[in-house]
């Protein structure tokens, strides 16, 4: 059984790789828009990568109002 912490950690690793930053720089409560300097379209791009990794489908709507890795992880984890 995958735990929420493990899901969060995997998301941080994937985001770091996708946007070419060091994984140690990213934390669960970080605002990914601000920390990664990305806009909403780039966030959707990240979401696509995460879907491929976790083999899930997350509608765009689920990202509404989400800006930190922890909440994103909760949304993804609930669909695993």
């Amino acid at each position: 059984m995958t735990t929420l912490d493990k899901t969060t950690d995997e998301i941080l690793q994937l985001a770091a790789k996708h946007f070419n930053v060091s994984p140690s720089e990213l934390h669960p409560d970080d605002d990914f828009f601000k920390k990664l300097g990305i806009n909403s379209l780039q966030a959707l791009d990240l979401l696509t990568r995460l879907e491929q990794h976790f083999h899930i489908e997350l509608p765009d709507y689920e990202l509404q109002g989400v800006s930190d890795f922890r909440t994103l992880a909760e949304r993804i984890h609930s669909r695993l």
Binding site: L41, L44, D45, L47, T48, E57, D60, Y61, G65
Partner: protein, 569 residues
């Protein structure tokens, strides 16, 4: 297309369209690379009947306000048609707003009916203010069988297909109440009449016609003023087809162009820029000889289409580029926010015209749009037929406030006669935008007179609306301004918000306070966050009722502080 002069309301015109082209496809709903369904005009009418019956049974009659909060999907259009058929007034709300703000706008509009999706309903029903919600009927689509709908009804249970009674409306009657800013401040509900929409549709389709066979790709939310007009009313009264895509993922947007051979699409500047980046990246990977050939063909196309577009020629010269967009694209439509002229020129040089326009919710959809005769990347186009523009108090460069008169302009702000009187003066809409009309009759914009910003996604942000989030910070007083309002610049680029902080006497703005400000700032949606803060040492000027006199404070700040006094947050 239908002769819109013959109709008095959107319901009447749409109803006539459904009977005029029964076998044409009017709507395709796609989600990612799947197609969820498609409707002919006749099937669309059939799908709307049960809902119209349910609305009439619930007491919807002429003037009843009915809200829709939904993502981009077929049931949005079906619901809107059913509401207009019953004589209702549509209140389209943004599904992207936080649930508490949706509830505030629902209350402000006094909507009696709400039609929404399960995911939205789930969020709304979790908010504390939900218990005070006063809508008489809530209809929820796509709810799982096991879901508790807290008293709402499922869309899917309505099956009564008897022809309901059509409720006629007049041109002066309200068709929609559209919120131009949907947040915790002072809601601005623009009351737009059936006449406004019919006139807008007539003038827009005069320059950018639709006909049976045209396919319009709809990826903006349908509550968006532009998409409501060019992704619903316009195509429908012309027998055209709307392709709804329920995702904004760039890879699926690109695929949709090709799969559905799209004719028109409306995109916000942020998405057009994303497309530009994608194309430029692709061009950079071409082998040198191919790149050189592309550059040559682009130059030839540019020279031969200088005076007006020639799509046949452009498609022949640059087939790979045009095929990537499906091969039948007539124009990209954009508006609602500033877009770099270089981006517009990039697409036009490739033979893809961009119809860049300018409008406000208060003016229905658009006031000006590029007529492509010739294409101009440096303007927002010419006034549409029936629109009169003036520049108020122009300076030595001819730049002043843009004011407009047109049959498309709203009748009023809902329940706000004071703001209506400030905004519509002797029949002229005071836009608050600074512009100049050049010798060719094109409007160029240079900034804003009003205290607001518009993001690249076309979202209006009024500083007053986001201030409450900073209330927890222990300072004497604070106020949010648009930087360009404090320090006017003749530019539409990089609009930012600034938080002006006045500490208590003897209080210093410590790193702890700055951290608290940052924390509060993070609670705002990404696009609403302030860019920096400015420390101000004097009491804010206030009215007798203790409201901040924003104009006066801005003047004081302008006199003694410069833009570089703003510290990052």
């Amino acid at each position: 297309m239908l002769d819109l002069d013959k109709y008095n309301s959107l319901g009447e015109a749409l109803s006539a369209a459904l009977d005029r082209w029964p076998n044409e496809t009017c709507l395709i709903e796609a989600d990612r690379d799947r197609e969820n369904g498609r409707f002919t005009y006749h099937q669309f009418k059939e799908a709307a009947l049960p809902l119209a019956n349910a609305l009439q049974q619930a007491g919807v009659a002429g003037g009843t306000r009915c809200a829709i909060i939904m993502t981009n999907q077929s049931k949005w259009l079906i619901s809107a048609y059913a509401i207009f058929f019953c004589g209702g007034v549509l209140v389209p709300l943004d599904y992207k707003l936080p649930a508490d703000e949706q509830l505030k706008l629902l209350a402000h509009s006094r909507a009696e009916i709400l039609i929404t999706e399960y995911a939205v309903w789930r969020n709304i029903s979790k908010v504390a203010a939900f218990k005070d919600m006063s809508t008489r009927l809530v209809i929820v689509t796509e709810a799982p069988a096991s879901a508790d709908l807290s008293g709402a009804q499922r869309w899917e249970v309505f099956r009564d297909v008897r022809e309901p009674n059509f409720v006629p409306r007049q041109r002066a009657d309200a068709a929609c109440i559209v919120y131009s800013s949907g947040t915790g401040g002072r809601p601005k509900g623009c009351v737009l009449t059936h006449g406004s929409y019919l006139e807008q549709c007539k003038s827009l389709t005069h320059w950018y016609p639709f006909w049976p066979g045209v396919r319009y790709l709809s990826i903006l939310p349908t509550n968006h003023a532009i998409d409501f007009m060019v992704g619903f009313i316009g195509p429908f009264v012309c027998g055209a087809c709307v392709v709804h895509l329920r995702t904004l993922r760039p890879e699926f947007v690109r695929e949709a162009f090709v799969r559905y051979k799209i004719t028109y699409v409306t995109l916000v500047p942020a998405i057009i820029k994303n497309l530009e980046r994608g194309l430029r990246d692709k061009f950079d990977t071409l082998p040198p000889w191919k790149r050189s050939m592309l550059n040559t063909m682009t130059s030839i196309n540019k020279a031969l289409t200088r005076n007006r577009p020639n799509l046949k020629l452009s498609r022949m010269l640059l087939p790979a580029v045009h095929n990537a967009f499906g091969g039948e694209l007539l124009a990209l439509i954009t508006g609602g926010a500033f877009i770099e002229p270089s981006t517009l020129q990039f697409f036009y040089d490739l033979g893809i015209p961009v119809a860049n326009g300018y409008g406000l919710t208060e003016a229905c959809t658009v006031l000006t749009v590029n007529d492509l005769k010739p294409f101009r990347a440096d303007t927002v186009g010419k006034p549409l037929p029936g629109v009169e523009l003036r520049i108020l108090n122009p300076d030595s460069d001819g730049i002043g406030e843009v004011v407009a008169k047109s049959a498309t302009i709203m009748s009023r702000y809902l329940d706000d006669p004071d703001m209506t009187a400030e905004t519509i003066v002797n029949g002229w809409l005071m836009t608050g935008d600074l512009g100049r009309v050049d010798e060719a009759g094109h409007l160029q914009l240079f900034g804003r007179k009003k205290n607001m910003v518009v993001t690249e996604e076309g979202k209006n942000i009024y500083p007053e609306d986001i201030e409450s989030v900073f209330e927890r910070v222990a300072v004497k007083e604070f106020c949010v301004f648009a930087a360009n309002y404090l320090w006017p610049e003749k530019s539409m680029v990089g609009e930012k918000l600034v938080l002006v902080v006045h500490p208590e006497s003897e209080q210093r703005i410590t790193s702890e306070i700055v951290a608290k400000l940052s924390e509060c700032n993070r609670q705002l949606l990404n696009y609403k966050r302030v860019h920096g803060y400015l420390v101000w040492d004097c009491d804010f000027p206030r009215t007798a009722s203790m409201k901040v006199k924003r104009g006066e404070l801005a003047e004081q700040i302008r006199r003694s502080k410069r833009r570089d006094s703003v510290l990052p947050l």
